[in-house]
């Protein structure tokens, strides 16, 4: 049996969300995606996508259903083959690494539809999140405890199987699970989908908290308004290409995004 290997060298085990402190230079991008092309088999869904995520910042990837957002995240995580372009994590091209090594290199991915292990307990799910870290059972339990502090509602349900949780709790568990791996970059795929509005703001609140703790966050959302509120950078995708991008502060006019959604400004130069 292969023992879990050492994860990214990170002596600090006490604060799951703080991989790269605010002290890290905000100038250097944590993740930079350049001219990415990807898809499923010979079906190319993403043609040319470039953007960056900086530590302590949120980059929101917006776009209609089927625009290629999830496909982009999957390619970054190694679940889809990168057919062209590069994916740099802290300056290192990870496009050739197998998926589990990308996770070990500091990537956290919360997939859509609250993808937790529904037949396992909440605690088992969280412990599994720390699979890549060799901190022993005690260290793991301590890390799990920290997640409970972030999402107190999970503590009371530690021995419940994840499938029995409510949608919002499953989403928190999914985020907590990804945080257990101490990522530097956290990718969230539609964390608000299917959740009641109050829960959405709670989830978005924790996204903001993680961001201020220094994590770089790549957020894919259909709820544009909520995403724009928390984002620093915005990129809008359509038919596998970036049709608009810029700092969130510059794009306060939602109509522009709306136009981008309905393909009215596809020819608009960036």
């Amino acid at each position: 049996m292969t023992e879990p290997q050492n994860g990214p060298a990170s002596p600090d085990v006490t604060q799951p969300p703080a991989a790269t402190g605010p002290a890290a230079s905000p100038g250097a991008p944590l993740l930079s995606v350049n001219e990415l092309a990807t898809g499923y088999g010979d079906l190319r869904v993403v043609w040319d996508v470039s953007f960056e995520v900086r530590p302590g910042q949120v980059t929101a990837l917006l776009g209609r259903n089927g625009a290629g957002k999830t496909t982009t995240l999957r390619a970054i995580a190694g679940l889809n083959r990168v057919q062209g372009g590069s994916v740099l994590l802290e300056g290192r091209d990870i496009a050739g690494l197998p998926p589990h090594k990308r996770i070990r290199a500091g990537l956290g991915f919360v997939q859509e539809n609250k993808r937790v292990f529904k037949r396992r307990t909440v605690e088992a799910n969280l412990m599994l999140g720390g699979y890549t870290r060799s901190i022993g059972r005690k260290g793991l339990m301590k890390a799990v405890d920290e997640i409970y502090e972030l999402f107190p509602v999970l503590r009371g349900r530690a021995t419940t199987t994840a499938g029995q949780l409510s949608g919002g709790q499953q989403q928190m568990l999914a985020i907590g699970q990804a945080l257990m791996g101490k990522p530097k970059l956290l990718m969230l795929d539609e964390p608000s989908s299917g959740l009641a509005p109050s829960i959405v703001s709670e989830v978005m609140g924790s996204v903001a908290a993680l961001k201020s703790a220094g994590l770089g966050i790549l957020l894919v959302e259909q709820a544009v308004e909520a995403a724009v509120r928390v984002a620093d950078q915005i990129a809008v995708l359509d038919v596998g290409r970036i049709v608009m991008s810029g700092a969130a502060s510059e794009i306060s006019d939602l109509e522009i995004i709306q136009d981008a959604y309905f393909g009215r400004v596809r020819e608009r130069p960036q």
Partner: protein, 285 residues
């Protein structure tokens, strides 16, 4: 009662085969047709170690575990890893099984070889029935291994990882689990366990090249009865097959025992395809 004991002892062997299928099925989602042949190989290695080389029993255990474990890893690399799709894997694992059958026949010949039992062979009387100590140990080992597997898979991070892989391979990858390495690991463990069982199973079944396909089928029936994907199901299914075999043999005659097992298999597949403990999966398009 004698027949019950002998049925349970046989059943323990089938349960151990089914458990081997189960471990590989959980980790690699593959059906290792050759697992029974690995167990058979174990009995030959034990014969070789204890009769031919006259090694002490501790070394025999080690030798069997090492060789069978190694062969299992070899199988994973040649018959599972590079082969995609159930159809192809069925053919390759059957090929590997045939290869092991053929190789043992070439090396040790076709006639059954008696494997000595390392412990006492005095018949005991338990609950009014005669039983060999070897048989009792086998039953104990089957029960302990099943419980152990269930505990390990629930309690340890590695075990949880194994179950996670079987539940959602992709999500497991996204937790940083090296799914492939885990698959190889599971094969190695199933091989090592198969080797370690050699000294226990050999004295009961003899070392003989025809053992493989018989064990493979009965182990499969055990799994079908218990339900694919359930370790306790494999254990109970194994005992059930053993009991059917010995009771049918006793009341109807030896020729009927396989026929009865076959009838039960057809019945289970027709009436309850998920087995006693299996769970149906939602059909997706």
């Amino acid at each position: 009662m004698d027949a019950v004991w002998s049925g349970l002892a046989l059943g323990a062997v089938y349960a151990l085969v089914a458990l081997g299928y189960h471990i590989v099925f959980v980790s690699s989602n593959a059906f290792n047709f050759a697992h029974a042949q690995l167990i058979m190989l174990g009995t030959f290695i034990v014969y070789w170690g204890s009769v031919t080389l006259k090694l002490p029993i501790g070394l025999v255990f080690l030798l069997a575990a090492a060789i069978v474990g190694g062969v299992a890893v070899l199988e994973e690399r040649t018959a599972i890893r590079i082969v995609r799709g159930t159809e192809g894997q069925l053919v390759t694992t059957l090929g590997f099984a045939t290869l092991l059958n053929g190789a043992t026949q070439v090396i040790w010949g076709g006639s059954p070889l008696q494997v000595p039992f390392f412990g006492s062979s005095n018949v005991l009387v338990v609950l009014g029935g005669h039983v060999f100590p070897d048989d009792l140990i086998l039953m104990g080992v089957a029960v302990v291994l099943t419980i152990g597997f269930v505990l390990v898979s629930r309690m340890t991070v590695l075990g949880i990882a194994l179950l996670a892989v079987s539940e959602d391979r992709e999500a497991a990858l996204m937790r940083g689990i090296n799914v492939r390495a885990l698959g190889i690991g599971a094969f190695a463990v199933s091989g090592i366990v198969a080797g370690l069982l050699g000294p226990l199973i050999g004295p009961k079944t003899f070392a003989v090249a025809t053992l493989g396909s018989d064990l493979a089928l009965k182990g499969f029936v055990a799994m079908a009865i218990g339900g694919f994907g359930s370790a306790p199901g494999a254990l109970i299914g194994g005992f059930a097959v053993g009991l059917i075999e010995s009771e049918a043999g006793r009341y109807l005659g030896a020729s009927y025992s396989n026929l009865m097992i076959f009838a039960v298999l057809l019945g289970v597949l027709l009436l309850r395809p998920t087995g006693l403990f299996g769970h149906a999966r939602e059909r997706m398009v």
